[in-house]
Chain length 422, copies 2
Amino acid sequence: MTYIGHGGKPIVERVLEKEKAKDAIQGLTQIPVRRQIAHEAISLSYGFFTPLEGFMKWEDVNTVCAEMRLSDGTVWSIPILFDINAEKLKELEIKEGDSVLLTYIDAPLAIMDIEEIYDCDKLTVCQAVYGTAETKHPGVRRTMECEDKFLAGKVTLVNEPKFNEPYKTFWMTPKQHIDAMKEKGWEHMVAHQTRNVPHTGHEWLMKGAWFAANEDLMVDELRTGVLVNCIIGEKRVGDYIDEAILLAHNKLNEARYFRPDVHMVTFTLWDMRYAGPREAIFHSALRTNLGCTHHMFGRDHAGVGDYYDTYAAHHLLKSVKDDLRIKPVFVLEWWYCPVCAEVTCSALCGHTDEKQKFSGTLIRSIIMDGVKPTRLILRPEVFDTVMECAEKYGFGSPFVTEKYLAERQPIFTLEKMEVGKA
Amino acid sequence: MTYIGHGGKPIVERVLEKEKAKDAIQGLTQIPVRRQIAHEAISLSYGFFTPLEGFMKWEDVNTVCAEMRLSDGTVWSIPILFDINAEKLKELEIKEGDSVLLTYIDAPLAIMDIEEIYDCDKLTVCQAVYGTAETKHPGVRRTMECEDKFLAGKVTLVNEPKFNEPYKTFWMTPKQHIDAMKEKGWEHMVAHQTRNVPHTGHEWLMKGAWFAANEDLMVDELRTGVLVNCIIGEKRVGDYIDEAILLAHNKLNEARYFRPDVHMVTFTLWDMRYAGPREAIFHSALRTNLGCTHHMFGRDHAGVGDYYDTYAAHHLLKSVKDDLRIKPVFVLEWWYCPVCAEVTCSALCGHTDEKQKFSGTLIRSIIMDGVKPTRLILRPEVFDTVMECAEKYGFGSPFVTEKYLAERQPIFTLEKMEVGKA
């Protein structure tokens, strides 16, 4: 079995077996990392960011910013950076050629082979990636908050994360995604990018994209599936809690709004950058590495505020689509139409005066009221799941609160391991 | 503007201008033809059956039967035959190389240049085309009822049919179809084959196929349309009347269940052969000649009784799809699901125990009751249209009766023209 990912490059898992890992980490200089870096080290190690095997070098950051390509020509849109405080770096006496141990919440996580230590103009990165340097853009703010020195180098996981439920059920490495796809007999798999609890508009958006992805197939050999790949990462107050996102999407499957043989829910650890069109390019690379042949992209994909045109992501994708191994499916708006008496699509339904758009605000207010809405807007099983998640994981709320941010159950835990002093 | 049709061959219109026609028909031997032959002469002359420009020669009939190809290798599935009574032929003293005038309902219709006069084993044709020689198969019966001699040769229309309303509104030649497609800005056009009044199952079947055909497109440049191309030809008692089929489909557009910019209704003159998979191949050639890039094919396409497997048409299409210029879209079953509370698709909805299939019988009984059904089954505007057609065209019935067969308004009329005696 060969696993080929974005850019036609093999998917490489950089994960040490436990016994080898124990030896390998002995005596290494330790660098404690924050959540984002830990998540990205995990993603890099399993091949989610193929062809990247580590944090990016200056040359790659430079071409990614200027040309939206790695220095080898592979399309890549978002720098994957490891920033470090200059004084801390000095204090640790790290130099190029060293190997260091990244630790997270007091446990070893990954070895990083330092290939380069460099400076990087964060403003240039922001302008290139986000098209703006305004710090009210959350991606810009995140970049500008980085420390001033950057480390490049491959990472190797030494301590695989143990995911807690409900995450454990939905965790798959890229290779496991591809194996699952083969096992299900899917020749095509279309990715749905989400951080939302699904209403029927989302459901039909996925169903419509399934048709677009279902090329060349006989009816008696259905070989197309929808991969709902949730983004689990930084949360903001008012977001849906992660547990509700995963379990509500899976409920569409359990309650048979999707046949189980055409639908699968998983997640990727990633902090949204809100980079709009550039984030769409990143998503297409990411989902290529999960085996997807198609990826849906809607209006305002991964955008924020009014930084990007409604269909900017579509245009950017079209400009590089010959260099992608995944086919963008440009999805349309689905709305509830009282004349059609059903959920229908902006491209097909002509009752534009009567249409009732699904707004996030509307659905939120429905959920906050706690009154079960019509099944044509939100499936009752989904509603119940969201309410259960609120009780079980959200301290009574399906939306992120300060309390959730402070006290939520961890997504994964890391085993403690003995590490000798450097 | 070049018009390329099935087999990559140019679409040729063989139609004489009135003045030239008047001269050309003088003194020709006349052969009065029945409705089927008249319809096929019209279709041949306008290029509906491209690359055919006339009734088929023996060599082509032979390879069509044996290999499902014309003698030049082009995929073709159904012989287009001109049969004539042996004694009549003798009496008319027609020989190869002659030109004759085909007349219909006492008016000149087309000139036929007789290239060949031949015998043909009708049983062999039946076995090859229908897979059976049982005369209870309507296609077999039609073939076996043919006379014993066959004429081959190109036909040229000398008297263009004047279509009566409502047909006139929906009549387009192949070139006009292609012009209309260009005018609408469609890059893709997916054909829906029908002899039915549309219920919501048909509507969603078309909508689902639209997604499948809508390849590679940006949302802000919608360039895909649905062509509802109704088959108008031989009717049987109990069929929907032709007027209701056309007007009901168009009502979906007028009442905006389809946006007018993604939907168009036309018709083709053709007597259904019920040849199942072979008829599907014919349909793909026919709709290629109307400019279609895609064609939907459902269960039991153009079949009858239990002569063909449910998906036999899909398999035969797949076997020759590289030789077609049109892409088959294998459409799935759409049903009403009370759990989803909407029309949904067998490939996606897992509520198989609860599903409510759209049966023709059910819809007929709804229409016969004359009680307006729920808009999720049959659109109220469609229902009203069918009832209006019953009054206006059907002698009170939306279904074909003996009275309709005998007294229906003609689809088209032919101008009288002076013809000198041979």
